[in-house]
């Protein structure tokens, strides 16, 4: 590493000290001319970051995380604090050294090393000091309430069932919402105001109302008016569909309007009717363009399913959040929420990954082309 560094600097090093020496104070001169400095900042900064992340975890895992009392004592142990403080201090030092020296680094590589080391140090310091500050508090109560998974593990089956139901609600409402949104978008791009108006009203009312209010009105109000007696499960699917329909409508409208005017003209010029031009030429292109925002809507709906608890929870079809909140009320243990957060991440992280992939493909032009 050091050898490679020296080779990389070869020509610059001989040229730079005489030029810079006289202009800088001696302290700064030393900083700029120390060839190993950038590498040292890099190693220290990244080392501090690794220590800040892995150190506390290592302590927790070697002592065992099954028993929350052991976890609490590990969090308050001197070694835990020491690790945080060491990581924080080393991080701080590399942050300052890197910040004040990177401009004087002689090569692009060493400059980059100093910058990365400084940023890694900053991140390490923030993380380590926040954790150190946090564990000064009442860790016994914290572990009892948030890291006590005894009750949660008894309910593993219920959690899996909850994840399944959450996924069902999400998929059904998103698919219906996307279909509804496409119809709304087609109305919204009409040249006749009379056709656009209902779409605009629908989209703006739904976008302008809290989803919770919409769900409540829908569940309780519609039940009275239409004399239907539906379960919260179905009501939430309908509510989320209506909500997603409005947002997807806006997404599709933006997608359609982003297409060049010439596409419609070319289609009409060939003799396609308006509806065929839309169906065969414009909509397929618009859909390709809006895949990332649509996937994003999917993620949002996943999380919005949790609002079902506010209109009532049926025992046989509980979503992830209902399972968690019932476990919480039963045991007075917030670890159920921690577990549900993990459950949501298990659903959403793969989706987020797919969104990012789709966006990359879109940017590299592959989706746009076909």
């Amino acid at each position: 590493m050091q050898a490679a560094h020296d080779v990389g600097l070869g020509e610059d090093v001989t040229a730079s000290p005489p030029r810079r020496g006289p202009r800088k104070s001696t302290m700064r001169g030393v900083l700029a001319d120390t060839r190993a400095l950038s590498a040292a900042v890099l190693v220290a900064g990244c080392g501090a970051l690794v220590l800040a992340i892995a150190g506390p975890l290592l302590i927790l895992f070697t002592r065992g995380i099954r028993d929350y009392e052991v976890v609490a004592s590990a969090l308050q142990s001197p070694s835990f604090k020491a690790v945080c403080l060491i990581a924080g201090c080393v991080g701080t030092v590399s942050m300052f050294v890197g910040t004040f020296s990177y401009r004087r680094m002689p090569t692009r590589v060493s400059r980059g090393q100093a910058i990365i080391g400084a940023i890694a140090g900053l991140e390490a310091a923030c993380l380590a000091f926040v954790v150190a500050l946090f564990v000064r508090g009442d860790m016994a109560t914290f572990a009892l309430n948030f890291l006590n998974f005894d009750g949660v593990l008894d309910q593993t089956g219920a959690f899996l069932e909850g994840m399944k139901n959450t996924l069902v609600i999400t998929v059904v409402s998103t698919v219906c919402g996307v279909a509804l949104g496409l119809v709304v978008a087609l109305l919204a791009v009409s040249k006749r105001a009379i056709v656009r108006a209902p779409a605009r009203v629908y989209v703006n009312v739904v976008r302008g109302t809290p989803l919770l209010v919409l769900l409540s009105l829908l569940y309780f109000g519609l039940a009275l008016g239409l004399r239907i007696n539906w379960t919260p499960f179905v009501a939430v699917i309908v509510g989320l569909t209506i909500n997603a329909g409005a947002y997807c409508g806006e997404i599709f409208r933006a997608g359609l309007q982003s297409l060049e005017r010439g596409q419609m003209e070319a289609a009409r010029g060939l003799g396609f009717s308006y509806s065929k031009s839309m169906r065969l030429i414009l909509v397929p292109q618009a859909v390709r363009r809006v895949i990332p925002p649509l996937m994003n809507e999917f993620i949002i709906v996943t999380k919005d399913t949790s609002l079902i608890v506010f209109i009532g929870v049926s025992l046989n079809k509980r979503d992830l959040f209902s399972v968690a909140s019932q476990g919480y009320s039963h045991y007075f243990n917030a670890s159920f929420y921690v577990a549900s957060a993990l459950g949501y991440l298990i659903i959403t992280l793969p989706l987020i990954w797919i969104v990012n992939k789709a966006e990359k493909r879109l940017r590299s032009g592959l989706v746009a082309l076909g």
Binding site: G262, A266, G269, G271, S273, G370
Partner: protein
């Protein structure tokens, strides 16, 4: 009185514009007026296109050449006046415009290929969906058209991977596939790099030698002189001068055409 697209009567006389027209005309524009807001872009255009003619329209930027061309297949609805295609007034609202447009090919400056479809599919889709050919027949016909414009080896490419000249030739093949009675070209070489203009003009020459009826808006004066059977000079929404291209270029009658040609020469 028949219901018309746009408003009904001539703005000045308050009567239907009534031109004498020669029944052999394939497309005929009569007294076309077009406004964009307060901006009158066409001030009463009369133009007859006979079968087999190659009409070159020239004129300064903003003179309404594109608007006139787009009025001929009613992509732009004229506010007054009629367009008669094969003896039928297509400004009548009861006319099936989609059927009419499928008989009039149009090619734009910006190609406007469908980027989500392959080259073959760009040509074939209209044959299936409008001409109601089977997938096999449409593919055969599309291949033949692409062969005609020299793109037989780009059939499976996506439009985004083609050069501008190749894209424009696909656009021509797409329009030709419909076997139109007349082709409208709106400055189809203007967006091309100079070295790609030739291959597109070559296709136009081939069409001219096949006696395809064409109306082309162009800035390529030498090409207009070469293939045009008639030259139309437009300025400020009016046809200022029309006639034999060679004559017009060598001896322009109006001051405006003279100035236009001189300005062109200066550039």
């Amino acid at each position: 009185m028949r219901v018309r697209r746009g408003t009904s009567a001539d703005p000045k006389s308050g009567r239907w514009p009534r031109g004498e027209w020669n029944s052999s005309g394939l497309i005929q524009a009569q007294g076309l007026h077009k406004w964009f807001g307060d901006n009158e872009v066409l001030h009463g255009i009369d133009l007859t296109v006979d079968t087999g003619e190659v009409i070159a329209i020239i004129g300064p930027s903003g003179s309404g050449k594109s608007t006139l061309l787009r009025c001929l297949n009613l992509l732009e609805l004229p506010d007054y006046g009629q367009v008669i295609f094969k003896g039928q007034d297509i400004t009548d609202v009861r006319v099936d415009l989609n059927a009419v447009r499928s008989r009039i090919g149009i090619v734009f400056q910006s190609y406007n290929l469908f980027p989500h479809l392959s080259v073959l599919e760009n040509v074939a889709i209209a044959l299936r969906e409008i001409r109601k050919l089977s997938r096999r027949e449409a593919d055969v016909a599309a291949r033949a058209e692409l062969h005609r414009v020299g793109l037989q080896d780009k059939i499976d490419a996506m439009p985004g991977h083609l050069s501008g000249g190749q894209q424009q030739r696909v656009a021509i093949a797409r329009a030709l596939g419909m076997k139109p009675d007349v082709m409208l070209f709106d400055e189809i070489t203007s967006a091309l790099d100079p070295e790609l203009v030739g291959e597109v003009l070559e296709v136009l020459r081939m069409l001219a030698s096949d006696h395809m009826t064409m109306v082309l808006v162009t800035h390529e004066m030498s090409f207009a002189r070469e293939v045009g059977t008639r030259l139309v000079f437009m300025d400020d929404g009016r046809i200022v001068e029309e006639g034999d291209p060679r004559q017009l270029f060598s001896a322009p009658k109006t001051e405006r055409l003279k100035r236009f040609l001189v300005d062109l020469g200066d550039r």
